[in-house]
Amino acid sequence: MLEIVNSPLFGISLSVFAFQAGLFINKKLKNPLANPLVIAMLLIIAVLLLFDIPLDAYEEGSSVIYMFITPVTAVLALSIYRQRDVLRQAFFPVVLGTLAGALAALSSVVVTCNLLGLDRTILASLLSKSVTTPIAIALTEQFGGLPALTIASTLISGVAGNLLAPVLAKLFGIKDAVAHGVGIGACSHALGTSKALEIGGVQGAMSSISLSFSALWTVLLAPLFF
């Protein structure tokens, strides 16, 4: 048994099947709370605990999938390139909107961490949580934080943004599609962007551009807040 689970093929196939199950359940339930990523996570953890399989064995395979994180982020360039006409029209609003969003995200994390009396290691781990996971992890490692807390936080932000995207627009009185998309991408990266694509083409396009610009602003500005 141990030989089988120690093969990289085990972790890869378990991840693929768990994600497929997540997509299937999400389609059936039509409930945004039934997030495919969350379902896949719960299924994999359940399998590991049920059969007493060590996390190290799973990571033999999952590290192969994780290797794709950099290329996956890099090819977001293609999605921006394809939306170059929209970007040309809304260039300044997007650049300044994402700058304001990054400043608000960074300063609100610093303020709330201080109010809750959390130590600097935790602040270092949460500072970059609004941006896409690979960049958030890179920044956390740079500041000496704990990547696990960063991943938990980017997940909370992403899933919450995905769930709340329609509500947020109503709550803050946003009627403009460009503004809505930029807001979603700035606060909840790729996970929120997948929801923005469902709301509308313009929202999806703006959210993709916004998550890229937000990542850039955060990389440049985060050191000032730590």
Partner: protein
């Protein structure tokens, strides 16, 4: 040879990411290699040195299944489950407050900048 196309596209994307890695090592400041690779591909696409069709199919495969690639780090939280559990409500509070602040600041700024641009445009036409 058509079946090789996707592998060649994948190798091209990987190669560009390796160039991004090298640039990231040489730069005097810290910028994640994924961001550098994204900017590199963007510059190459806009300059016409890299054609969309040279990477399109493999890139779309990754973009359409983007969430899948985030499973490993998410499951990896298991290793630190006691740490996350010990401060779960603080994590929730910090994240939700920051989410609202970030959404409000970015979307309102977009509305404001568009309003200012419109006013400037009207002035020039008048």
């Amino acid at each position: 040879m058509a079946s090789m196309k996707y592998l060649i596209q994948l190798a091209l994307i990987f190669g560009l990411c390796l160039v991004g890695d090298v640039i990231s090592l040489v730069l005097p400041f810290t910028l994640p290699s994924s961001v550098i690779s994204m900017l590199l591909i963007l510059v190459l696409l806009f300059s016409g040195l890299l054609k969309e069709h040279s990477i399109a199919e493999s890139a779309d495969f990754m973009l359409k299944n983007m969430t899948f690639f985030f499973i490993p780090p998410v499951v990896g939280i298991l290793r630190y489950s006691s740490l996350v559990q010990s401060i779960w409500w603080q994590l929730l509070v910090v994240n939700l407050i920051s989410l609202f602040a970030c959404f409000a600041a970015s979307s309102w700024t977009v509305v404001l900048v568009q309003f200012v641009q419109k006013k400037i445009g009207e002035k020039q036409h008048a």
